[in-house]
């Protein structure tokens, strides 16, 4: 079973251009948490990232050991598209439908089980996340 947890946009500080100026405070500073990825205005602080960590840990701990649980950045299309299409094709879905579903899948905080979106739009609680993933993994897996 492959479970993909799409990293919400406000729980990431990564940007490109790392060839000659990119990266984040994590690569430079002794205490990078003192340099949040912001200006001086409204900012999403890293303490707000805790719910993602809780859901991730719940899935890692609560699912069978052979389940692959990955947090994936929504920009990582070179990984997401082929994997999602492949997972959906394994479910017997046609190429065109699989491609359309794969493009639509990586929404905000989406949880995707073997190509099928079981939750998206907001992070569920850790218990709810575990419940929907287990339900989707059951032989007659439901789509939430």
């Amino acid at each position: 079973m492959r479970v993909l947890l799409i990293r919400p946009w406000d729980m990431s500080d990564g940007v490109g251009a790392g060839c000659c100026s990119g990266g984040s405070a994590k690569g430079l500073c002794i205490e990078p948490e003192h340099h949040p990825p912001r200006g001086g205005t409204r900012n999403i602080e890293r303490t707000g990232w805790a719910p993602l960590a809780e859901v991730y840990r719940a899935l890692r701990d609560g699912l069978p050991a052979d389940a692959e649980v990955e947090i994936v950045d929504p920009r990582n299309h070179s990984f997401l598209l082929p994997v999602l299409v492949r997972d959906l094709r394994r479910r017997g879905i046609g190429w065109w439908s699989a491609l359309r579903a794969a493009i639509r899948a990586p929404a905000y905080a989406a949880i995707i089980v073997d190509g099928v979106v079981v939750s998206s739009g907001e992070l569920p609680s850790r218990d709810e996340a575990l419940r929907v993933v287990r339900a989707a993994a059951a032989p007659d897996g439901e789509r939430v």
Binding site: C19, C20, K26, L28, G40, R75
Partner: protein, 591 residues
């Protein structure tokens, strides 16, 4: 020779490097152990430390390191002929960048995923942390200065690029807001963003924006200088915004542009079957900078980039699920960067023929090559796009927009990181007001490179840019040298053969010091009283690095000898495999 043959040959060499050399590094030099627990597992918190599939991690890593710098250096270096430029790109990527990016990742993973700055203090010496911060400070200063000049030159040469680039800012914010508010997937909106951007390219080519009159009225000697000031004002404001507001959504658009530009280059070369019009080895005019050492600092990123160690040790090492994956992520990422440099060489050696100007005229002098590098790249890529049916003038604006988009992101992130560095240095010096004030630190981060971009060179665009670029190259190689020194000491400490790291380290330090030495006297002769002290400071940093690296290696070798029972040394031919791994592990953990 057909450019496509050159491209295939380079890719074949990259493939051999990955198959054989990276395997040697993995097995014999870094001794990767698939059974060892990585920090991603040990400290798994779901925030920073997340064990991640190697294919996922490669996507994160490559999109993080890809940037504009591999474009500019090779486009200048073809001045010496495409043969030497490509030779350095291929050899540098396989034997220096691969070792560096891969090694920085492994050393960080073996030290609880600490970043390269902290590792310099841990592995080499405490004071090396100060050296690291100084080198990065000058590197970022030069990065921001040269990319401001790159953008200024491109806006002057391609006024059609102004509208797309400036409308891309609200466009990226709008797309970001749409994605964030609707919580929808990013792919379709970001592709729509690229399509809108390309529509704006058409608008821009119909309505070019030239500000010569305004520059004259404000007393600027060159229009380019006004663009430089505008870019720094913009980046000062942009660096105060949260990354999710502008930087990340624009990166969504840029990541598509990166793959489109690579596809246009290599498919365009295949379809157009362009030939290399540049000479393989150019007979440069007397008085030009010599290949040794200047080729090796002109092409910095694209052959080796010190900044990759910051990404490798900053974020990637915290997500590596298995040590064996470091080869796939670190080494392959370096090859991807080398491919960008290859695209640049093909553009200025083959594609540039479409300008209908003789190559010899474009590269008549080193100043011509430096001043026209990005313009030549733009024209070359435009020719490849033209091979695919895009009208040439439109294709030119397209290529300019690609370069400026990347350069603007580079400046955004560069100013932001420079602010961190100013705050870190201020904290060390006890300057609490500067350390705590985002505005003051941001002003320092902007004013220093702005001055550097405007003051020296007496207004000669080609001269100023070429000189600044060479100084950028030297500091970039110094940063890579620091990371390679850390890798070499760590490998030696673990009783493995360090030559894979020591040879590129020694080569880079020799080329860097040699170039700085020559340039210093040139600056004195030319009365460049801004650049000469800057060169001298960077030279002192280079010497400091050499002293630290030699000292650390000597201490490590002495410790090794003291710990090796007589008769056991090198019993395995120097690979160190005979040494019991268990004896090494506590030390590898940085304890």
């Amino acid at each position: 020779m057909p450019a496509v043959v050159v491209a295939v040959a380079v890719f074949a060499l990259f493939a051999l490097g990955f198959i054989y050399y990276s395997r040697y590094l993995a097995d014999k030099v870094y001794a990767l152990d698939p059974e060892r627990t990585t920090p991603a597992h040990e400290f798994a918190d779901g925030v920073d430390f997340v064990p991640t599939n190697k294919h996922v991690l490669f996507g994160h890593h490559f999109t993080s390191i890809a940037g504009a710098a591999p474009i500019v250096g090779p486009a200048i270096a073809v001045f010496w002929g495409w043969g030497p430029a490509l030779a350095w790109i291929v050899l540098g990527t396989i034997f220096a960048a691969g070792v560096h990016d891969f090694g920085a990742l492994v050393v960080s993973v073996r030290h609880k995923a600490r970043n390269i700055g902290t590792l310099t203090a841990d592995v080499i010496s405490k004071r090396s942390r100060v050296l690291f911060l100084c080198v990065i400070f000058f590197l970022l200063t030069l990065v921001n200065a040269v990319f401001a000049v790159v953008i200024g030159n491109l806006f002057v040469a391609n006024p059609g690029a102004v509208i797309p680039i400036f409308v891309e800012i609200p466009l990226a914010i709008a797309i970001g807001q749409y994605i964030y508010r609707t919580r929808s997937p990013a792919l379709v909106p970001s592709i729509v963003g690229v399509i809108l951007l390309y529509f704006l390219i058409w608008v821009g080519s119909e309505v070019p924006i030239e500000i010569d009159g305004l520059a004259d009225a404000l007393g600027f000697g060159q229009t380019r200088d006004l663009w430089v000031v505008i870019m720094f004002v913009y980046t000062f404001i942009a660096s105060r915004l949260p990354v999710w507001l502008l930087l990340q959504p624009r990166d969504y658009i840029n990541s598509h542009q990166l793959f489109i530009a690579l596809a246009v280059t290599f498919v365009g070369v295949l379809v157009g079957w362009d030939t290399m019009v540049a000479p393989a080895l150019n007979d440069v005019p007397d008085g030009s900078p010599s290949i040794f050492p200047f080729l090796f600092i002109t092409i910095a990123c694209g052959a080796i980039s010190g900044f990759h160690s910051l990404v490798s040790s900053g974020t990637t090492s915290k997500q590596l699920a298995n040590e064996r994956d470091a080869r796939h992520v670190g080494y392959l990422g370096a090859l991807g960067e080398g491919s960008l440099a290859l695209a640049s060489v093909l553009a200025v050696s083959a594609g540039v023929a479409a300008t209908r100007v003789e190559w010899d005229e474009l590269y008549a002098t080193h100043a011509d090559a430096s001043g026209g590098a990005t313009g030549n790249f733009v024209n070359g890529i435009a020719q490849f796009a033209n091979n695919l049916g895009v009208e040439f003038q439109l294709a030119t604006v397209f290529a300019a927009v690609v370069v400026v988009s990347f350069a603007a992101t580079t400046m955004d992130t560069g100013i932001r990181l420079q602010r961190y560095i100013v705050q870190e240095i201020s904290t060390m010096l006890g300057w609490t007001r500067l350390a705590r004030s985002l505005t003051l630190a941001g002003l320092v981060a902007v004013v220093v490179p702005l001055a550097l971009a405007l003051v020296p060179g007496d207004g000669d665009a080609g001269y100023t840019f070429g000189t600044l670029w060479r100084l950028f190259g030297t500091t970039n190689q110094l940063t890579a040298g620091l990371a390679l020194a850390v890798i070499a000491v760590w490998v030696t400490r673990n009783r493995r053969n360090p030559l894979a790291a020591v040879i590129p380290l020694a080569f880079l330090l020799i080329m860097t010091s040699w170039a700085l030495f020559i340039q210093f006297f040139e600056f004195i002769d030319e009365g460049e009283w801004v650049l000469a002290p800057l060169d001298a400071i960077i030279f002192v940093l280079a010497v400091w690095l050499i002293v630290e690296a030699i000292g650390a290696m000597r201490r490590t070798v002495a410790e090794r000898r003291a710990a090796t029972p007589i008769g056991d040394a090198d019993s395995d031919g120097g690979t160190g495999q005979a040494v019991a791994e268990t004896e090494q592990r506590p030390r590898e953990d940085g304890q």
